[in-house]
Symmetry: C2
Subunit: 112 residues, 2 copies
Amino acid sequence: MDKEKILNPDAVQRVLEELPDEEILYDLAELFRVFGDSTRIKIMYTLFESELCVGDIAEALNMTQSAVSHQLRVLKANKLVKFRRSGKTMIYSLDDDHVRSILALGMDHVEE
Amino acid sequence: MDKEKILNPDAVQRVLEELPDEEILYDLAELFRVFGDSTRIKIMYTLFESELCVGDIAEALNMTQSAVSHQLRVLKANKLVKFRRSGKTMIYSLDDDHVRSILALGMDHVEE
DNA sequence: TAAACATATGAGCAATTGTTCATATGAATG
DNA sequence: CATTCATATGAACAATTGCTCATATGTTTA
């Protein structure tokens, strides 16, 4: 069985003091969870240079309109994309430059 | 039924040309998926200032040694943490500054 | 206002995932 | 070399998730 003995009480104490609030850590994880799906990553890259409507995203990624719409909903809920209406079509774009920054930083790490 | 009509063929074409390779996009998603769990986020924050052994991380986060070890395995596999042995204990630390940068950038977005 | 079109949404299913529990590995110590 | 300690690992289970299919909503146009 575990003894759970603390090897370095000072360090543990220090960590506990500096750890951000539970709620913030949860929100942070949720943000990254949204980035953690290749479909959503693709959709965001699709919008990297210019805005697009749902049908065109689906066409470009060879996906169902429904699947794209479902994922746009998630992106929207997390303020990663915004949209405007133009007649019957909804035109989506990246919400702010944080999205591009986060993608770029992740790319740095992936490309080594 | 869907008509799948392309509303903006030029834009679709442009997107297809500039979209990163499938494999890279997948790796990128996998990287963020690792960040997308609050337990792993907590573990990384635990290591933000100084290295720690497994038992101390478990103690600080009030988690099972096993659960922490399983997650460290995931972080290790994605090159987000590294470790060294010191006798019986394994001492973990963040692998590079990309980790801190990504966490910080995510924090920016979460804090609005 | 009825039909066509673009998008959104809900239910259901298969696949993935994080935890627990039990046990294995590997190093230090008597 | 047997025991103790720190960590790692495998199996199993519950919960979450992304897709499909069918249908609903809302806008334009004939």
